[in-house]
C-alpha cells in the first residue's frame, strides 16, 4: 500500500524509519501492510476508500525516553504523529489518525502499573495499562480500591480519560478526565512536562492535588494535540462495604420532571451512584395506537394507555454505595423525597449485598424487577460482555454492525430539557429523512456525567455496510451535527471523520475556542507534528487538510 506522510519523500521516509528502528529496535517498527492493518479503524465509515485514515507506519516505544526520541525524529522529518494507548476507542475512530499517512505511536508496551495506594486512594499508570490490567493488579495485590470502568473495559484509563470517557459508579469517578490527578507529557519539542504537583520535583502529592500553582494546562491534553501523555494519575473509589439498589416508577409522562429534579438532588449530595433511567412503555410500541401517540408526543393518549396497561411512564433505578445502614438510610430517604414530590410514585426494593459481590451475584441478578443495569460495571468490574452489540444475533446470524459509531449530545439535566430534546431529535430525524431509527417520546437520557445528560442520536443514519451506504450515512451525520448545533445540542466526542464538524458546533464568537487552541498549537508545536486535526485543531503546517474529509 505504501502510504507516505504528507510532503515526505520515500527516501526521507526510509531514513526516518531506520532512525526509529535505532531507537526502539527493528522489532517494534511496523511498516508492512499486514502489520499496519491492525492500526486501521475496524469500524471505519471510509474503509478501503482512497481517503481512509491509515498510518504510514507504527512505532512501539517502551519508555518515555524513546517517546522523546520519536518526537524529535518526527520534528526533523516533519512526520505527523498520532499516539494511541491501547488503541480501542471503537465507535470513535479506533486507532486511526486524523491525517492519512501519520506515524502511529503505539504506547501499548508502556504497560506498567506504577503505583496503587488504597489508603490515599489513587493510581499512577502508563498508557498501555488497560482497565482489565489495572483491575487484575488491584485484585492480585488485595487492594481495597475500585476502578471506574467504561464498557467495554479493554481500553486504557489514560486513553479513555483523554478522550473524555465515562464510567458507572459514583459521580466524581465517572468523569474519567476529571478524576485524573497529575500527568506526565512529552511535549512537541521532546521536553517532558509534569502537571499539578508533579511540577515540584520533591512533592509527594502528585496524585492528590492536580492544580499545582498557576494555570493548569492538563485540559489541553484531553481530546487535544499538544503532547503525548506518558503517565497519568487517577483518583480511585475506595471499595465500599455494601451495595444496594432499588427501583422508582412514576405513572405519568410529566412526572419525569420531578423525578429528575429529585435524582439530581440525591446525586449532588453524593447519596447515590449512577442513576439508570429507562422508559416504562417500550412494550406498548407494538400497539399501533400507542406508537402513533409516542411518535406524535400525544401525552394525554400515552398516559391513558399507560394507565390502562398498568405500566409506569418512567423508571429510574437507583444504587447506593456505603455500609448496610447508610445505603438503607439513603434509599429510605430517596423514597421519602420522591413520595413528597410525585403523587402515585412506586418503589421496589432491589438487592442489598455485601461488597465485593460474588460472580453469581453479578451475573445473575435476583433483583425483584427487570433491571436495566449492567451490574459488573456498577461494581467496577471491567469486561467485554457488552461487545455483543456489534456481533451476530439469533435474530440475524449474519449481523455485523460495521457502522458502530457513537454520537451523544449534551442535553440539560432536567425533565423539561429531555422533553424538548426528544421533540427536537425526532423533528431533525424526520427532516433529514433518516433511514433507520427515529427518536420519539420514549427516548431516555444517560447520566454518565454526574452534572449533565447525554442523549444518543444519529443511530438511524446508517442503513447498511456498503461503501455508498456509509458515505450517505456520513453525509447525514454531518447534517445532523449542524442541525443539532442550531438547537444547542453539542456532541461530546466523535471519530476523526466528524471531528471538524463537531468542532464547528462550538462556534461562539466566530469559533474563538478553536482559534485560541490553534494559536497555542502553532506556538507549542510549530511543525504541527502532534496529531494534527485532532478535535478540529489544525496547525498551520496541515491547515489545508481542515474539512478535507468532507469533500466527497
Amino acid at each position: 500500500m505504501a502510504i507516505l506522510p504528507p510532503g515526505v519523500s520515500q527516501q526521507q521516509f526510509d531514513t526516518a524509519i531506520n532512525r526509529l528502528k535505532s531507537v526502539v529496535g527493528d522489532e517494534w517498527v511496523f511498516t508492512s501492510d499486514a502489520d499496519i492493518h491492525a492500526y486501521r479503524d475496524h469500524f471505519s465509515y471510509i474503509k478501503d476508500q482512497p481517503n481512509e485514515l491509515i498510518p504510514c507506519a507504527a512505532v512501539g516505544p517502551d519508555s518515555v525516553e524513546q517517546v522523546q526520541a520519536i518526537v524529535r525524529i518526527a520534528n526533523e522529518f516533519q512526520i505527523p504523529l498520532y499516539s494511541i494507548s491501547t488503541g480501542k476507542n471503537f465507535a470513535y475512530g479506533g486507532p486511526s489518525p486524523n491525517v492519512r499517512g501519520s506515524l502511529t505511536v503505539d504506547l501499548k508496551r508502556m504497560d506498567r502499573v506504577l503505583e496503587v495506594d488504597d489508603k490515599r486512594n489513587f493510581a499512577l499508570v502508563e498508557p498501555g495499562v488497560s482497565y482489565i490490567d489495572l483491575y487484575n493488579y488491584i485484585q492480585e495485590h488485595g487492594l481495597k480500591v475500585w476502578v471506574d470502568t467504561p464498557d467495554p473495559g479493554w481500553g486504557s484509563p489514560i486513553g479513555n480519560a483523554l478522550d473524555h470517557g465515562i464510567g458507572y459508579t459514583l459521580g466524581p469517578y465517572r468523569d474519567h478526565f476529571s478524576a485524573h490527578c497529575g500527568m506526565e507529557v512529552v511535549l512537541p519539542d521532546g521536553e517532558i512536562l509534569r502537571t499539578g504537583m508533579g511540577a515540584m520535583p520533591t512533592s509527594d502529592s502528585w496524585q492528590e492535588y492536580k492544580h499545582g500553582f498557576g494555570p493548569d494546562p492538563a485540559g489541553l491534553f484531553g481530546q487535544g494535540n499538544f503532547g503525548i501523555v506518558t503517565k497519568m494519575g487517577f483518583r480511585l473509589m475506595p471499595q465500599p462495604e455494601h451495595w444496594r439498589n432499588g427501583l422508582v416508577t412514576v405513572p405519568r409522562r410529566q412526572d419525569f420532571i420531578a423525578m429528575v429534579d429529585t435524582v439530581n438532588y440525591l446525586t449532588d449530595l453524593g447519596m447515590i451512584g449512577e442513576p439508570w433511567y429507562s422508559g416504562g412503555l417500550q412494550a406498548l410500541m407494538t400497539n399501533t395506537e400507542f406508537a402513533k401517540a409516542a411518535n406524535a408526543f400525544n401525552e394525554e393518549e400515552m398516559d391513558r394507555q399507560a394507565i390502562a396497561a398498568g405500566l409506569p411512564s418512567w423508571r429510574v433505578e437507583l444504587q447506593f454505595y456505603g455500609s448496610e445502614g447508610t445505603t438503607l438510610a439513603n434509599w429510605e430517604y430517596a423514597k421519602e423525597l420522591m413520595a413528597r414530590n410525585i403523587p402515585g410514585v412506586q418503589f421496589t426494593d432491589g438487592e442489598s449485598l455485601p461488597v465485593p459481590l460474588t460472580d453469581e451475584q453479578i451475573q445473575k441478578s435476583s433483583t425483584p424487577y427487570e433491571s436495566a443495569m449492567r451490574r459488573n460495571i456498577t461494581q467496577g468490574r471491567p469486561g467485554l460482555g457488552i461487545w455483543y452489540m456489534t456481533g451476530r444475533t439469533d435474530f440475524d446470524p449474519n449481523a455485523w454492525n460495521e457502522t458502530h459509531i457513537g454520537l451523544f449530545s449534551l442535553v440539560g439535566r432536567s425533565g423539561e430539557a429531555v422533553f424538548k430534546a426528544q421533540r427536537d431529535f425526532a423533528d431533525i430525524s424526520r427532516r433529514l429523512e433518516m433511514p433507520g431509527f427515529f427518536p420519539n417520546a420514549l427516548a431516555v437520557p444517560v447520566n454518565w456525567y454526574q452534572n449533565s445528560f447525554l442523549m444518543g442520536n444519529g443511530f438511524g443514519a446508517a442503513k447498511g455496510n456498503s461503501p455508498q451506504q456509509k458515505k450517505d450515512a456520513t453525509k447525514l451525520l454531518r447534517r445532523l451535527l449542524e442541525e443539532n448545533a442550531k438547537l444547542g445540542y453539542g456532541d461530546y466526542r466523535a471519530p476523526p471523520i466528524l471531528q471538524d464538524d463537531v468542532a464547528d458546533q462550538y462556534s461562539f464568537n466566530n469559533n474563538i475556542l478553536r482559534r485560541f487552541n490553534e494559536k497555542l498549537k502553532n506556538a507549542i508545536d510549530p511543525n504541527g507534528i502532534i496529531s494534527p486535526g485532532r478535535a478540529g485543531i489544525w496547525p498551520e503546517a496541515y491547515a489545508d487538510l481542515r474539512g478535507s474529509l468532507r469533500e466527497d
Binding site: W28, G87, F90, P95, I386, W387
Partner: protein, 126 residues
C-alpha cells in the same frame, strides 16, 4: 568387542540425549502451555471464555457469536476446539473477523500466539 562396546556406549549416549531432549521439549511445551493459558485468560477469555457473560448473558460475545456461526458443527468455546493452530489463530488475530477487531503485535506478539496455540492444543483434553 571393543567396537561393540563403543557402539553400545554410543547408542546409550544417543539414547540419553534423546531422552534429555524430549524432556526439555516437554518442559518447554508445558512452559508454553502455561504462558499460553495466562495470555489466553488475559487477552482472549474476556470475549471467548466459557461460562456466562460477565453481565449475566448466556455466553460471552465471542463464544456466542461462534455458537451462532457454527451451530452444532463446532464447539463455540475456543478452549474446546482441537483445530486451532498458530497459523489459524494468527489469521483471525491479525486480520480480525466480523466484530472482532485485529490485534497488534504490541498487544499479542507472534510468540504469544504460538503459546496460545500450545495451550489450546491441550485445553480441550480437560
Amino acid at each position: 568387542m571393543k567396537i561393540k562396546m563403543n557402539k553400545l556406549i554410543r547408542r546409550a549416549f544417543m539414547g540419553l540425549i534423546l531422552i534429555a531432549s524430549s524432556q526439555i521439549a516437554i518442559a518447554q511445551d508445558s512452559e508454553a502451555v502455561a504462558r499460553g493459558k495466562a495470555k489466553f485468560d488475559h487477552s482472549c477469555a474476556p470475549c471467548h471464555g466459557k461460562g456466562a457473560g460477565d453481565d449475566g448473558r448466556e455466553m460471552l460475545p465471542g463464544t456466542y457469536s461462534l455458537k451462532i456461526k457454527y451451530g452444532d458443527t463446532m464447539p463455540a468455546a475456543l478452549e474446546d476446539r482441537t483445530d486451532l493452530t498458530s497459523e489459524v489463530i494468527s489469521v483471525f488475530v491479525r486480520m480480525g473477523a466480523w466484530s472482532m477487531p485485529p490485534f497488534r503485535k504490541t498487544e499479542l506478539s507472534d510468540k504469544e500466539i504460538d503459546d496460545i496455540a500450545a495451550y489450546l492444543a491441550v485445553s480441550s483434553r480437560k
